[in-house]
Point group: C2
Chain length 267, copies 2
DNA sequence: ACCTAGAAACTTATCAGTTAAGTAGAGTGG
DNA sequence: CCACTCTACTTAACTGATAAGTTTCTAGGT
């Protein structure tokens, strides 16, 4: 890799090739594959709205022809887009643009969390950061239909008191409903993406010991208080109720995951 | 609706094939492609830690041989995993497991937000929900090194007062640093994933009008107050400071995105 | 005239074999 | 001991073919 005109330059390590990777902000990009052009074009068309969910895409053959590449490469590009959750491809039918859902997000969290207690604890903490604010927005923006749906879920929770698996599903539905009441699609997706990870935690949490019927009623009561504050349209109260809901479960959660990280520790 | 066994049944639309898709919880799964087995196996190996970041994967040929599939299919599976951000594949080298970063998250938000004001508003709102709590955790867990890094960024912000592009980068770095101080990897990834979308907003926000040097100093002052609360280890103060930081920018943001959604409106 | 069964056309899924290009390590010569 | 070349291995891409699922249209029967 000597570029100089004196032989000494050749022996210098790499002072002259500092850190191109960082300088160019491109650490690990492959030197441009042909399929990337397809991905990029379709991506921007979808993002800026020229292609809407449900719209059909050209077939593999057509894409291959228009981009001047072979069918397998065009196919690869489509499958990559499918892996991102952006399009839907099915045998026999042309691929179609797909409305974004929480699938990619859920997969991301699954990988990010892994199967470590550490990861689970962080995911639960992230949810704890979000939900009080979500409750506050829900209290501001809820509609009559929202309130009715929330009440129905509360009834369902009461009916499943003591039935751990059914309770977990009703509980998750309750929190998802509150997210929906904030009328922010991104928030709904966010909470739905966290759901699989949260479900793992809930299974552990609710399986830790035998709980009396009174314990269950106390838990239900905390949810009722959240619902009441939202129904009353009181953001501050809703936020506070959600906060104390999580605080109450805190001791048990620490039981499962261990203490909070020490400042200088593993994070 | 008649459900009898008379010949009229044949004319009924599809009462007898209710909603298999929903019943089976599988709305749109393709009838199992060969490559899916590869994806699933590698996925679980990575999630449960048998494969760690940096570990090499078998080559296309080896995968094809062990799974009894052809090379192009094995290749497709690897590229799909790469599209999920789970592995890194480069010409000439074997694929390797990759530590998860904010890339997939950023891409998700880009698609979810699209190019609508509505989406941008929702993303900004999501960030607003997160950051006060992040600041509170940062105040609890910050280390000396964290504080030093935060101070350095504050100095950088002061130096770039009035220089919009440089200010934006310093501002983003400040908030990212606070996220890092919460010592929760998921939170860091979360904020980094939102960054591209937030940057778009900031460009619009900071370009709206000519601001006096005093305006700039007021903005910087709000950041200083956040930093001071975190440095003092006061979670409540940090959260409050972050809240008022966002509240101050609220009017201008509403200027850009329009008013908050009406409860029954477009959400 | 209408409805239905079946063929035809089009789509994706998968295979095999081949060529090109990039990477890394072994070997060789200075 | 260092630097260079050569080789073996990897991914990138193409070609051409077969299988299997969807849709559409037509031909036939009622």
């Amino acid at each position: 890799m000597k570029i100089g005109m004196s032989d000494q330059l050749a022996t210098l390590p790499d002072t002259r090739t500092p850190d191109w990777a960082k300088l160019l902000g491109a650490a690990d990009i492959a030197p441009s594959r042909l399929g990337d052009a397809v991905i990029e074009r379709l991506t921007e068309a979808i993002i800026d709205g020229r292609l809407k969910p449900g719209d059909p895409l050209p077939s593999e053959g057509q894409i291959a022809a228009t981009f001047g590449i072979s069918k397998p490469i065009a196919r690869e590009a489509l499958r990559e887009l499918a892996a991102m959750g952006v399009i839907q491809v099915q045998q026999g039918k042309v691929s179609r643009v797909r409305a974004i859902d929480s699938g990619p997000l859920a997969r991301f969290y699954r990988f990010a969390v892994g199967s470590t207690k550490q990861g689970l604890r962080e995911a639960v903490e992230l949810r704890r950061m979000l939900e009080p604010h979500i409750a506050a927005f829900a209290a501001e923006r809820r509609t009559e239909a929202d309130i009715a749906a929330m009440r129905a879920i509360l009834v369902r929770m009461e009916e499943t008191l003591g039935d751990v698996p059914a309770w977990i599903e009703a509980d998750l539905a309750f929190h998802n409903q509150i997210a929906a009441m904030a009328h922010n699609r991104l928030v709904v997706l966010q909470l739905k993406g966290l759901e699989p990870v949260v479900r793992i935690m809930m299974v552990r949490f609710n399986a830790r010991e035998a709980r009396t019927m009174d314990d269950w009623r106390v838990t239900l009561g905390r949810h009722v208080r959240i619902a009441e504050a939202i129904e009353a349209g009181d953001p501050a109260a809703a936020e506070a109720a959600m906060r104390s809901h999580f605080a109450a479960a805190d001791a048990a959660i620490r039981d499962i995951f261990g203490p909070d990280p020490s400042p200088g520790g593993t994070g």
